[in-house]
Every structure is written in C-alpha cells, then in structure tokens.
Symmetry: none
Subunit: 201 residues, 2 copies
C-alpha cells in the first residue's frame, strides 16, 4: 500500500523466511520485538549470524529498523480508548474510565482525536456493523451525507448513516426493521466512524 516496494529483487531464502517466521512468533509471544540475541538463541546460532539475517530482512522490507531496534512494520498501534459511553464535547467533561484500549492503525485519523465505542443493537447490520462490534470514531461535529456517524439522540449514542429522508436531513438505519430519524434541533453529531472491529472469540 503505502511504503510498499522496498525490494522487488530476490525472494527470500528458506532460511530467511524461517527467521522471519520466528521473529513473528517471538514478537507475538512477548508482546515486544525480540532482540538479536533472542533470535540467535532461538536458532542456536551466533549473535552475528542472527544480526546479519535481521539486517537483510530489513533491507528487503520484511522488517523495519527504527531507532536501533528492528521490529515488524506496523507494530506501532495508536491506543484508542474504548468508552462505555460517548464522550461528550469537551475533554474535561469526560472523566470516564475506558473499558479498555484498542491498538489502532496509525494511518486511521492522523492527529485526530479518536475514541472507540461498542455498538449495541442491530440497526446497522446491512452496513456490516453488527451487535457488539467496536467502531472507531473521530471526534468531529460535522459529517457529509453518506458517512456513518455517531449521533447523540436524547442523550443516547446511536450509530447511523447520515443522509436525507424526504428532502430532510436524517439518520438512516441500515436495517429495514428501523425507520429513519429526521434530524431535529436536539440531535448532535459526536463523531464520524472511521473503522469497524469485530472479535469472533
């Protein structure tokens, strides 16, 4: 996608691919990128050999060197708090304990103020947003027609698509069971949905 093609040249050797797999495994096990010596110990080879492997993988684009530490690219997730309720407006008002944190791809909403929200109900199933899904939201007061937003209706948070119903601005559910909510004065847009997470555990 973005920084993709570092080396179109050679494919990896069996051994090199093995090292990459081990690097993934060790990263997953510890939650931290392994050191050169960890990799060396895993294969029972010398540190220098492991170091050469890692350096090669970096040159080929399979690994990423940042600040003298090699790691898998994209391991820097931005922590997004999963809020039980919708954070309303000013940050000072929202002294709410997050339900947890979600590591989010850094290119989602660069610099924007993000939070996450667990979706209740089935009003958006036709848009692929199911009950218990977690949506990542960028705090913003405005959105364009067609975008999926988090709106505050009577103090309750709702995920709907912004659109028009009979010429009037409205919140459109993506489920024939529900009817559009025509926008009135008391409706406020809390944010714009950037992404959807679902765990099938």
């Amino acid at each position: 996608m973005r920084d993709m093609p570092p080396t179109r040249g050679k494919p990896l050797t069996d051994r090199q691919h093995e090292v990459w797999e081990a690097f993934k495994l060790l990263t997953a096990r510890r939650g931290l990128p392994p050191s050169v010596r960890d990799v060396a110990a895993h294969f029972r080879i010398q540190v220098s050999a492991a170091h050469r492997h890692l350096r090669l993988l970096v040159r080929r684009g399979w690994l990423e060197a940042r600040g003298g530490v090699v790691r898998l690219p994209g391991s820097s997730g931005v922590p997004v708090p999963i809020m039980g309720r919708v954070p309303a407006g000013a940050p000072r008002e929202t002294f709410e304990v997050p339900e947890g944190y979600l590591p989010c791809p850094p290119d989602w909403g660069r610099g924007q103020d993000l939070f996450a929200l667990r979706v209740r109900g089935d009003s958006m199933t036709d848009a692929g947003i199911l009950d218990q899904d977690v949506v990542v939201v960028a705090k913003t007061g405005h959105a364009r027609d067609g975008e999926i937003v988090v709106a505050l209706v009577d103090g309750e948070a709702t995920v709907k698509r912004l659109g028009k119903s009979g010429g009037e601005p409205a919140l459109l559910p993506a489920n024939p069971k529900y009817k559009p909510i025509v926008l009135q004065g008391e409706v406020r847009i809390a944010g714009k949905v950037l992404g959807v997470f679902r765990s099938l555990a």
Copy 2:
C-alpha cells in the same frame, strides 16, 4: 498492578499528569516508547527523578511495564501481516512481501500464528464481512462447525462458514446469491477467522 485503569487510589499530581502527557507525546513522536532518559531530557531533570515518576505512573495504572520497558497500555498491538495470498503451510508458497501490517489486540490468539487477508467478493455479507474487509486468521488445519474459516478451494482462498449441507460437510456462504460448497478431497482449511477489520476511509 495490571488492573484498574486511571482512577485507582490517589489522583495524580499536576507534575505527574504532566509527565504522563509528555510520555504520550514522545511515544507519538517516535513511534516507540521513550526511555527514562528521554523523559528526563524532556523535563531537564535527572534520570532518577524521571524514573521515579514513571514507576509511580506504572503503579497507578497509567502506564504499563513489560519486560523492563514502560509504555502506554493498548499500544501493544501484535503486528499481523496482511498477505496478498494465503500463506499455506509450506514455506515455498509464501514468498511474498506482505501488503502491510495490522496492529492487532494481543489477546487475539495469544501465541498463535496469525496472518491477515483482504476479503474479495460479497459471499459473506450477511455475516457482516464485506468486500475489502480484512480478516485476521489463525493458522490451523481444523475448525468446528459454525466457525468462519479460510479455505483453499482450487488454490483460491475463500472465506466461508464451516457447516453441513444435506448431511455433508460444506462451506456455507452468508449470502443467498451463492450456494454451499460441499467439501471434497482437495479442499484444505488454511485457518480460522478470529476477527474482522474494516476501514471506512
């Protein structure tokens, strides 16, 4: 020391909150958690003072200490490679540079070998998996009925629900447009779908 987010025990001092904010800032700037000396340099104080601050923030639950490194909670995304094709057991078939990496919540498939796959087509829309969605898959050869799996049919990767069709084991689409695929000899399970990611950018 692992439980209880921010509101535990005493509230933070002004200074401590300052340190926490700086820690967030430095983490965002570098893409890596700052060292104790980085924090010390930022405030132009001694290393020991910065170290005491960080240790306190960890004890209060604002930071997370793991393997002698303090960092923000939730930034511990396990990087999962997004593969263009399905990595199938034998290393030969997987000579492919990942399309990108996805930071994944660490409790998804602890220690398992994970990869991600971009879904093509609309055969699973009724299960909330749309075209271009990214599914996180745990490499495993077996799965239970009802679980969503990645299967290799004629060398092509397909996401389907495992189940039965007329008493026979089959791959069931979640879209009335498509018909079940009765399992034959040449079908292999590549992995089990753990989660779904969607970006609405």
